[in-house]
């Protein structure tokens, strides 16, 4: 049921979120998350995102199925970009529609935690001189955040 896209192109977050509710009267809540490329300290020309084609989509679909099994969702859209993304550019969208706000918030947070820790994407830093400055390291904080969803009995 979830719509999952892995693409180079930018997306329209508002249109994606609204599409989940349009023409329906059972949707009470749409939560959407947009992740942007941040420039930490003015030295970043771009982030370059590498991904594992095929597995990236599969892994996001698995995460979405887990969310759907866990909460009563009406719809979900996940878009993750790859390639070069300049500061201020959009990287990822998670949008979730549900009857009520609690499942919509929880599912959106779970999907983001899973995207961070399980979807096969890797970011590296391109400096303003055009030089590749190495791969961004994964954060333990993200692992802890993702562990919330397996630690809970619910």
């Amino acid at each position: 049921m979830a719509s999952v896209r892995v693409q180079k192109d930018d997306f329209d977050p508002g249109a994606e979120a609204e599409a989940l509710a349009r023409g329906r009267t059972d949707v009470g809540a749409v939560v959407s998350f947009v992740g942007y490329c941040r420039d930490e300290g003015g030295s970043l020309a771009a982030l370059e995102l590498e991904h594992y084609p095929g597995m990236a989509e599969d892994e996001i679909v698995r995460a979405a199925r887990e969310a759907e099994a866990r909460w009563p969702l009406i719809g979900a859209t996940v878009i993750h970009r790859y390639g070069r993304i300049a500061p201020g550019g959009r990287i990822v969208l998670v949008a979730v529609a549900a009857n009520h706000r609690a499942p919509a918030f929880a599912a959106a947070e779970m999907l983001m935690d899973y995207l961070k820790t399980r979807a096969p994407f890797w970011k590296r830093v391109i400096g303003q001189d055009g030089a590749v400055q190495g791969w961004i390291e994964s954060k333990q904080e993200d692992d802890r955040s993702a562990a919330r969803w397996s630690a809970t009995a619910d």
Binding site: E50, Y52, M55, E59, V92, K116, W135, E137
Partner: protein, 83 residues
Amino acid sequence: MKALYFAWVRERVGRAEEELDPPPSVTTVGDLLGWLSERGESYARAFDKPAGVRVALDRVHARSDAAIAGAKEVAFFPPMTGG
């Protein structure tokens, strides 16, 4: 089996993919990592800290003790940093 390398694993190995034909004694993901680390300097650099390298079998995350029998595609990559 077809091997794929991503991010700094790809850079250290020096290639994005190749065919692997491990000996019959290599039965788990952990065995495979050990075997690869002994294939020369570039592989040693990529696989010397096996805990740092994640593995997927046929596009599904696999732990060190997972059996590789039957897998057509194995991928090696650092911890993910998407999202």
